[in-house]
């Protein structure tokens, strides 16, 4: 069985989620793992060494000037062509803004089925098995891909975990690339201010989140201080975002981001169903709230009833000690 893993990269680094996914696929019995990278000519050579610690059978490179900037059509076609040429049985990618955007086009080009945001994937008896959440995570569904070939799936970051190293030197295959007609592509990226260096919420391993009880945006500094001690990204509930304390891109929840960190700490968040929908797959949930009846305590693993304005700084101090 051949499984092709689309590996996304930016600024010369392969995305963490892509390596996590690759590290899993290379351990699947009976599976020949292949990796695929796209980019402008001369930009892909530096990525190869990053894949040696979870070495696939072959790394396929697709170099073309039209791939210098992301475009849904260009990327969809090149990835479709690569999967078809390889005869891949499955085409996988880490769930990202880019992969979730172009892979549906790829699925139509290949006349095949796709499952998004899977929390588990494996190969059983020559078929791709996957589970994905539905109804904002209230239900987990096993996918039947039928005769779909290649079966396409995007996998939620941190869902599988990085497997131990499997060193090797993959073979290299430079693909012939025809990006087709590209009618729109990224002209410019405007980075969010203050966002540099922090993991995106959807990829973060640790998240510290605040609700409306923070009372204003300045108070969120208390959570930023805590977050920086443990390398966490700061999130917010819808109430805090609607009140203007944090931007919408920080919102965790049904109409915000779905996150799956190892540690999720919620300060002053009551735990409405819509918020839980966004963070319920966190491995460990900590809730701090002054209301002992807050619904979030039903879903948390650890809870502290009290004033977040005294507890958060106290926890920050304890974490500083613990991190040394």
């Amino acid at each position: 069985m051949k499984v092709l893993v689309y590996c996304e990269h930016s600024n010369g680094r392969i995305k963490k989620g892509s390596l996590e996914l690759l590290s899993n696929v290379v351990t699947w019995p009976g599976v020949e793992a292949h990796a695929l990278v796209l980019g402008a000519p001369g930009t892909l050579a530096g990525l190869l060494s990053q894949m040696e610690s979870h070495a696939p059978h072959t790394v396929h490179t697709a170099e073309h000037s039209a791939l210098a900037h992301y475009s849904p059509e260009g990327f969809a076609k090149v990835v479709a062509d690569a999967a078809k040429t390889l005869g891949a049985d499955a085409l996988l990618a880490t769930l990202s803004a880019q992969a979730k955007d172009f892979l549906p086009r790829t699925s139509v080009k290949l006349d095949t089925g796709m499952a998004s945001d899977c929390t588990s994937v494996s190969m059983e008896g020559g078929k791709l098995e996957a589970k994905r959440p539905m109804f904002s995570g209230k239900v987990s569904a096993s996918v039947d891909f039928g005769n779909a070939k290649p079966a396409i799936a995007t996998v939620r970051p941190n869902a599988l975990g990085v497997k131990p190293e499997k060193m090797g030197k993959p073979a290299l295959n430079a693909l012939t690339v025809d990006p087709g007609s590209i009618r729109t592509s990224v002209k410019e990226i405007v980075a969010k201010s203050g966002g540099a260096g922090k993991a995106d919420l959807t990829e973060a391993e640790r998240i510290v989140s605040g609700g409306r009880s923070l009372k204003n945006s300045e108070n969120f500094k208390i959570l930023e201080d805590l977050a920086s001690v443990i390398g966490a990204t700061v999130g917010a509930s819808r109430a805090a975002v609607d009140a203007g304390y944090r931007p919408h891109s920080d919102q965790v929840g049904q109409t915000g981001k779905t996150v799956s960190p190892v540690l999720y700490m919620a300060f002053g968040i009551s735990g409405a169903i819509q918020h839980l929908a966004g963070m319920r797959s966190s491995k460990v949930i900590v809730a701090v709230n002054s209301d002992p009846n807050a619904p979030i305590f039903q879903k948390a693993d650890y809870g502290v009833v009290g004033d977040l304005f005294t507890l958060a700084p106290a926890i920050t101090e304890e974490l500083k000690k613990a991190m040394h």
Partner: protein
């Protein structure tokens, strides 16, 4: 349907325009919407374990599609001659969501009957065919995902079937000869695109502020005839889904919450100790 050059006037979709206006100004805007369970709904699993039990569910227009409907109507309000056709693929109950969109200000509605079990591939194909048969489309708006299956695939899949370019998770659009778009990606960063028409645009929350339908408009919407199409009408009688779900389960119970007590310093110390030694996440 376009009929041209009739006694010096051009007829477009039953409306007539003086010579000075071109056919291109007769812009057909489409909005694809989905009816989904209300966000508060507690989902039950059917006895066969293959689907969700929908009895007693309160149905709403998908929140992300509301932004799409609003954007389409605003475009119509700014472009004389533009019309908005709202389309939904789904079972009969989807008609209610179409009525909501009509009440907001869409001109006409099409219901494409697809089974409850239809996947993104089938729904995207059905929507694309329906738009082709009722088009041509100048812009197709839709929401960035449906909050029932959370697949977020139909927008680009439908665009591929229509052979149109598409940009999704759009926070802002400025309409000119081409459309200047801002799309949200990781970290809240924005990608800028220049999108030619015809095209597909999938709205992100915050693209605009959807209007509330007034009671008079709700009453008017009840009287608008909704065009019904079946898969057979779209030459898709034998079309099938590509994926299905073989088992639905409720997520495992997390177990009870360990409550940590004491004054702030004591509770903080106990919590961090537990996170380090017990949960092993620090």
């Amino acid at each position: 349907m376009l009929q041209t050059l009739h006694y010096g006037r051009k007829l477009c979709y039953g409306m007539s325009f003086p010579d000075s206006q071109t056919l291109e100004q007769c812009m057909k805007i489409f909005v694809c919407i989905k009816q989904v369970p209300d966000t508060e709904t507690k989902i039950k699993i059917a006895p066969d374990g293959k689907s969700a039990d929908m009895t007693g569910v309160k149905w709403i227009l998908c929140p992300y599609d509301e932004f799409a409907v609003e954007e389409a109507i605003r475009f119509k309000e700014k472009n004389a001659g533009a019309t908005v056709t709202v389309v939904s693929a789904g079972p009969d109950r989807a008609v209610e969501a179409l009525r909501t969109a009509l009440a907001m200000g869409c001109n006409e509605a099409i219901h494409v009957n697809t089974p409850e079990s239809a996947d993104s591939f089938l729904n995207a194909k059905a929507l694309a065919r329906a738009i082709e048969k009722n088009g041509p489309a100048h812009i197709v708006f839709t929401g960035k995902q449906a909050i029932d299956d959370d697949c977020a695939q139909v927008h680009q899949a439908m665009a591929e079937f229509l052979n149109l370019p598409a940009v999704t998770v759009v926070l802002r659009a400025t309409y000119g000869a081409t459309i200047q778009l801002e799309r949200e990606v990781e970290g809240g960063s924005l990608e800028k695109y220049d999108l030619p028409t015809p095209c597909v645009i999938a709205a992100q929350k915050g693209m605009n502020e959807p209007r509330y339908a007034s009671l008079p408009n709700i009453m008017k919407a009840k009287k608008i005839e909704i065009k019904k199409m079946t898969l057979a009408d779209l030459d898709l009688a034998n079309a099938t889904s590509k994926i299905s779900y073989k088992q639905l389960t409720l997520p495992p119970d997390r177990g009870s919450c360990k409550m940590i007590t004491g004054d702030a310093p004591a509770a903080a110390a106990a919590l961090v100790k537990a996170l380090r030694e017990e949960a092993k996440v620090i």
